[in-house]
Symmetry: C2
Subunit: 291 residues, 2 copies
């Protein structure tokens, strides 16, 4: 079972039980963040949570400051994808009791990034475990009804990315250091320009674009993918963890500075992505795809 | 280094960096939940996050439905301790890809409890790891300024618990099944009665009462601790995971039905707890206390 299928199974169950939406939650599973609307408030709140596990998302020999930076970046990037401003986070961290120095480095990286983006660390949880893992929840705010959604792409929209792709995959291949950054200012810019549809590229363009198309019930034709310096086309098409933004522009909106048009949203089977006229199967990162 | 000390170190760092409070977060690290106040909203929102790890909080052979139930109960109990009503949760779950049946049982237990308390499961994260772990974030609401706090105990208050203690520790000792429940209705009742000070008993009375006294800068005299059937005094004084509520009553408020007065808040060294006149060292659960 793939991750996408597993999430759909869970989502169906929640709908059946009547706990998929309500209590102010106006959008639950299925986008980068959940959206919550509090009575009387001018802004919507968005929520996301992202785990990292030693051996899956990082190795023991990685600089702990980089791991802390990346742990927060993953959730901030979901926030950017909604066009939201991050307000605060919660950090759950599990580690072997004796790894005090590692933990100190992790907090250095995490809090330096939190400070840079003025994100409050409001609470968390600690546990003593054999392997290191963490989970970061971020809450952000966005003007009421203006969150960018995966489901808002329409045939005729231009498909864009916020920058060249494949840098993280290249770094993984060459075992070099690469610190991604969440495109928070860019996400807010898109929202102010009137863009409606965006998501972040965490699992690779081929997989994430297919997800966007499924959410919007449309297809995509790709023709031009900007490749990061030194990376290959494979890195750019399928590599995860770039944390660039993927978004679509209706004809009346011009691409903002720094963005690259890479194709077009078209009518077609939900989720089908073509690259230069040939089907591009989703090969990005899926935790549960059978090998 | 103990968990308490570690949290204090982290908190100091956040204050120094200016990311301990702000952006609407009016109470961060140091209570059962963080408190967030959104402009224009009539209610405050409270946030908590709790992890569970295989081998630390449960074993592989535990009924997965019980593990799912317990995972949500831990966070709901923090919500109860604030006198809040839970609204929604996020669930991050990591497990070996092949353990589909276990995961199904976990979701059964988790969603059954969510449904019972009308808690929306708004989103989450999944990962494929060798060992099972989860992290549950719960958001609740409480009328503005009315959240119950650890820091509101005053000398002269009666110390109370919502029920007999030691049941979870007894179950652990006898390897029998015990499913705790979050005291949500009781927490809301306390708030409506005008109670100001509460916390949940997750790590054992001796440790948790010391924490409450430190937060309130006072001491406590215990004389009568209700012991669950079959449990010992040690279970009741030091056993964790009962998830009863610990709270204090000013002289003008009578104890609600079901509650037991167990002692009195007094002036004295911050955090000192006496039991029948003798110092009661905190011996509850601490993830990081040197053995």
């Amino acid at each position: 079972m793939t991750e996408t299928r597993l999430i759909e199974t869970i989502h169906s169950r929640l709908r059946r039980l009547g706990i998929a939406q309500g209590n102010g939650v106006i959008a639950g599973i299925g986008d980068d963040c959940a959206i919550f609307r509090q009575r009387g408030a001018a802004s919507d709140l968005i929520f996301t949570t992202d785990m990292m596990h030693e051996g899956v998302h990082f190795t023991w020999d990685a600089d702990p400051r980089d791991v802390g930076h990346k742990a927060l970046t993953r959730s901030l990037s979901d926030c950017a994808a909604m066009g939201a401003r991050p307000l605060f986070c919660l950090l759950a961290l599990a580690f072997p009791g004796e790894s005090t120095q590692w933990v100190n480095g992790f907090y250095n990286g995490f809090t330096a990034l939190a400070r840079k983006h003025k994100v409050i660390l409001a609470g968390g949880d600690l546990a003593n475990t054999a392997n290191i893992s963490c989970d970061v929840m971020v809450c952000g705010e966005v003007p009421r009804g203006q969150a960018l959604l995966r489901s808002k792409a329409r045939p005729g929209d231009a498909i864009c990315v916020s920058g060249p792709l494949g840098r993280a995959a290249l770094a993984l291949d060459t075992r070099s250091r690469y610190l991604p950054n969440a495109k928070l200012a860019f996400g807010e810019l898109l929202r102010r320009m009137g863009v409606k549809c965006a998501m972040d590229l965490s699992d690779g363009l081929s997989l994430d674009l297919a997800r966007l198309c499924i959410a919007s019930n449309c297809a995509a034709d790709l023709d031009d993918v900007p490749i990061a310096k030194g990376a290959t086309l494979q890195h750019a098409l399928h590599g995860g963890e770039d944390y660039e933004l993927l978004f679509t522009l209706p004809p009346k909106i011009a691409a903002p500075k720094g963005a690259r048009v890479i194709g077009r949203i078209v009518k077609g089977p939900s989720g089908r992505v073509n690259f230069h006229g040939q089907p591009l199967p989703p090969q990005g990162w899926d935790h549960f795809r059978p090998q």
